[in-house]
């Protein structure tokens, strides 16, 4: 991917990620998050992770964000009024964020290997999904079953949680 496209997608991702936080209206926040996830999927594709990019669009930008929008509209949330910020918590939070970004920038700056060009890859005629599937079903089969059980438990939990009267 050309550097120009990379920075364009990074800018879209960060701008709309910021809009998620800054928007007062929850629906606008959710839609900004969808755009941010789409740009993120483009970054995945630029890293030759086509399967994860497609999953990102289908699962995140599709299913999960529709669920978010559904709940926001179901609860009929209005744009929230401005409330006074908890000043010490905000200052401390920004200090932590500043330190975090500084550490990431410093580590990347010193990490010489990270400035090298990505090595060329050839995924062969099978393509990306085949390789991901082989690793997933051969080396991580147990984990895959566990995650499937987790989703089953989660859906049962949701049914119980959304009953009118908890007993």
């Amino acid at each position: 991917m050309s550097p120009l496209l990379f920075w364009v997608f990074v800018a879209i991702m960060l701008f709309f990620g910021g809009m998620v936080v800054l928007n007062r209206n929850p629906v606008a926040s959710a839609l900004s998050l969808v755009v941010s996830f789409l740009a993120l999927a483009a970054l995945y594709v630029s890293l030759d992770a086509y399967f994860i990019g497609v999953i990102q669009i289908l699962v995140y930008a599709g299913a999960v964000m529709v669920l978010f929008l559904f709940i926001i509209m179901l609860l009929d949330l209005k744009a929230e009024s401005r409330r006074r910020l908890n000043f010490p918590a905000t200052c401390g939070g920004f200090l932590v964020i500043f330190l975090f970004v500084t550490v990431v920038a410093d580590v990347s700056h010193r990490f010489e290997g990270g400035n090298a060009k990505f090595q060329a890859i050839s995924q062969g005629p099978q393509g990306d999904v085949w390789h991901v599937g082989m690793v997933l079903f051969q080396h991580f089969n147990i984990a895959l079953q566990v995650v499937g059980t987790l989703i089953l438990v989660a859906s049962i939990g949701v049914v119980i949680l959304s009953k009118r009267e908890l007993k």
Binding site: M1, P3, L14, G17, V20, V21, P26, A30, L33, F37, L40, L43, Y44, S46, L47, D48, A49, F51, I52, I55, Q56, V59, Y60, A63, V64, F68, I71, L75, L77, E80, L85, G93, F94, I97, F100, V101, V104, A105, S108, F111, G113, G114, N115, A116, K117, F118, Q119, A120, I121, Q123, V132, V135, L136, F140, V147, L150, I151, A154, V158, S162
Partner: protein, 105 residues
Amino acid sequence: MVTLNDYLIASGLLFAIGFAGVLLRRNVIIIFMALELMLNAANLSLIGFSRYNVHDGLPDYNGQVLAFFIITVAAAEVTVGLAIIVALFRAKQTTHVEDITTLKF
């Protein structure tokens, strides 16, 4: 030329935005979305490292599989979390964290 460090910095900035959202916003649903941003920032760096670590002309697929698992668990987490938010809204008629102080010591 785009390098691994560029991806790592983009991922770090996205994580910082998500963290700021968790700190600054008081609406539970927005806090939840900011959590999703942080999970996705972690995924971006995982995919970046996966692409960086090339063996025999193939990227390291373990990283991509871990990102796949994170996406799956995040989807399960969103369903349960939103169900909790709906139950909370039924009980308290609010999604504002400062109005929910039942567990406050």
